[in-house]
């Protein structure tokens, strides 16, 4: 067995030292009735055999990069530079634990400090944590935090919030015991969230760009929130957008919860991803998740440690701000390396390319008879209204194969004709040609 170093001779010698007749004797505290005989599973296999079996399974999937691909909806296909994957696979990063011993984990601590800084800069906020599981759980944690900060228990969720995010908040609301008033999806853009805020509102949750790709100025909503003592919670599912858009922090956001997958991380069929979480300095003690802070060592040299841990479960137990124990360490590393490679110029240019591609594609789709583009504004994703049910068209195009986008009906009943389409830097002119042609044919 290639992963197990002990030989039979080792085992015998070790048992002799322990003074036990057999390994079974070491399990003597297990009740007789629970000692399983052989469990019916296949025997061990070599690398080649495992690789063959799993590769066969992988081959039954259509990899995004192998086809014209226009799918977003909270996960985005971007090019990740080769050095990112190389660096995150260094064993010192990959096989290290949470940095509880700062003297021998300065590498992890320093990159997390850099990551926190990058997230704060990108979102326009003052402080960010070392990440949460994903954007949806970060959003639910943010609502819980807003409840703690305001002492109120009713949140208002925009209909433009990603349906998965809304559902995750709903689950938490049901079991923690607070209200989350979700508004219906509003394709026509008439949603008036300010009118729903009252003295009992802890926060308003709004996505930017929203689930249909629309971009809204959040300043009036921030003012309306603050006038009633509520917090504005801004959710970002496509973090590359902040390379082109005014950041939520500049529009009065109190908490930003975001999905960081787009930078550094592959699609991975939905996970692991990386939840970004940023807020104002004055709320820092109410934040969930790990935080890294700067300090000095016994010789006066700059270094980093996990800090403000008294918020967390291992100290506060049932009074912790959250039960969260892990962050998304390695995904965080991928994010921070990719963003370091991009830098100011790279990120803004990447964002500009994404936007321009989407604008091109929107123009081309709008020219197809019967197709209308819903958005007046968007970043790299927008919504089209089709003359036929979108789900059937997506399935038909998948056979060609083209992955055309996500039908809104996959999430919400009653919007059968809406298709959300994304175009990132990975989309080529030929991909757009293929989509336009296929869509024309299937609508004919």
């Amino acid at each position: 067995m290639r992963y197990l170093p002990l030989t039979e001779a080792d085992r015998r010698d070790m048992l002799a030292v322990i003074g036990a007749p057999s390994v079974d004797a070491l399990f003597r505290d297990v009740p007789e009735t629970a000692r399983a005989a052989d469990i019916d599973l296949p025997p061990h296999q070599g690398e080649l055999e495992v690789e063959r079996a799993l590769s066969a399974m992988a081959a039954k999937n259509v990899a995004a990069g192998s086809v014209p691909f226009f799918l977003g909806g909270g996960a985005y296909r971007h090019h990740v530079p080769a050095s990112v994957d190389h660096l995150i696979q260094r064993g010192e990063f990959l096989t290290s634990y949470t940095p509880y011993q700062p003297e021998v984990t300065q590498g992890t601590l320093q990159y997390l400090f850099e990551f926190q800084t990058q997230v704060a800069l990108l979102t326009g906020m003052e402080v960010a944590n070392a990440s949460l599981y994903d954007g949806a759980t970060a959003t639910a944690e943010a609502v819980a935090m807003a409840n703690r900060v305001t002492g109120r228990r009713r949140s208002v969720l925009s209909g433009g919030l990603h349906p998965h995010y809304r559902e995750v908040v709903d689950t938490l609301a049901r079991f923690v015991g607070f209200r989350a008033d979700a508004q219906p999806l509003d394709p026509d853009g008439g949603e008036d969230l300010a009118a729903l805020i009252d003295g009992g509102t802890s926060c308003v949750v709004v996505q930017y760009p929203d689930f249909l790709g629309r971009v809204r100025d959040l300043r009036p909503l921030a003012e309306a929130c603050h006038a009633k003592g509520a917090l504005l919670l801004v959710v970002v599912t496509e973090i590359v957008s902040l390379g082109a858009l005014t950041p939520p922090g500049e529009m009065g956001a109190d908490i930003v919860a975001a999905e960081g997958q787009s930078i550094g991380n592959g699609l991975n069929f939905g996970g692991p991803y990386v939840g970004l979480f940023a807020t104002r300095d004055r709320f820092v003690r109410q934040m969930p998740g790990r935080l890294v802070g700067q300090t000095t060592d016994a010789e006066g040299r700059r270094g980093w440690v996990l800090t403000l841990s008294t918020r967390e479960q291992h100290i506060r137990r049932e009074k912790a701000t959250s039960n969260i124990c892990t962050n998304s360490g390695l995904c965080t590393l991928a994010f921070t390396i990719h963003l370091s490679l991009l830098g100011e110029d790279g990120l803004t240019q990447l964002a500009a390319i994404n936007h321009a591609k989407a604008v091109q594609l929107a123009g081309r789709l709008a020219a197809i008879p019967g197709v209308t583009v819903l958005n007046d504004s968007f970043f790299n994703e927008f919504t089209v209204r089709l003359p036929k049910p979108a789900a059937a068209i997506v399935d038909r195009l998948a056979e060609r194969p083209i992955i055309a986008g996500v039908p809104v009906s996959r999430f919400l009943a009653g919007h059968d004709d809406l298709l959300v389409v994304a175009a990132t830097e990975t989309v080529t002119d030929a991909d757009m040609d293929a989509l336009v042609t296929a869509l024309e044919e299937s609508l004919r």
Binding site: R285, S309, T310, I315, R316, K319
Partner: protein
């Protein structure tokens, strides 16, 4: 005339008239280690004997400070919020936490005096 009383949770209260000044004991600050954060109740809040009133934190521990008596908080010590190290330096004097107007002075009756608390702490070792 003032009297100082102690709780088993290591708070002290010094009463003058109907106002009690509350802090944590030298033993408590020693157990906590370097204090890094203090959270005090809002002035005007009504606290209940034995209920949560304040929070004091070191790097590795967080502890509730319980109200030794029932009453209304009438003043808080901002100095220890600004400089938590004071709690370690002068727990029994300058680093008081809050002042409370006693609702029921008889609540003090069962509490330990200085000698009683010293014996109680000895018994904890």
């Amino acid at each position: 005339m003032s009297a100082i009383k102690f709780t088993e949770d290591h708070e002290w209260i010094r009463v003058e008239g109907d106002v009690g000044t509350v802090g944590i004991t030298d033993f408590a600050q020693n157990q906590l280690g370097d204090v890094v954060f203090v959270e005090l109740p809002a002035v005007g809040r009504r606290v209940t004997k034995g209920g949560d009133a304040a929070v004091v934190e070191s790097v590795k521990a967080a502890s509730e400070v319980y109200a030794p008596v029932t009453g209304e908080v009438i003043e808080i010590n901002q100095a220890i919020v600004d400089e938590p190290a004071k709690v370690n330096a002068e727990p029994m004097a300058g680093a008081w936490f809050f002042k409370v107007r006693l609702a029921n002075p008889s609540e003090l009756d069962g509490m330990m005096d200085e000698a009683g608390y010293a014996a109680f702490v000895d018994g904890q070792h």
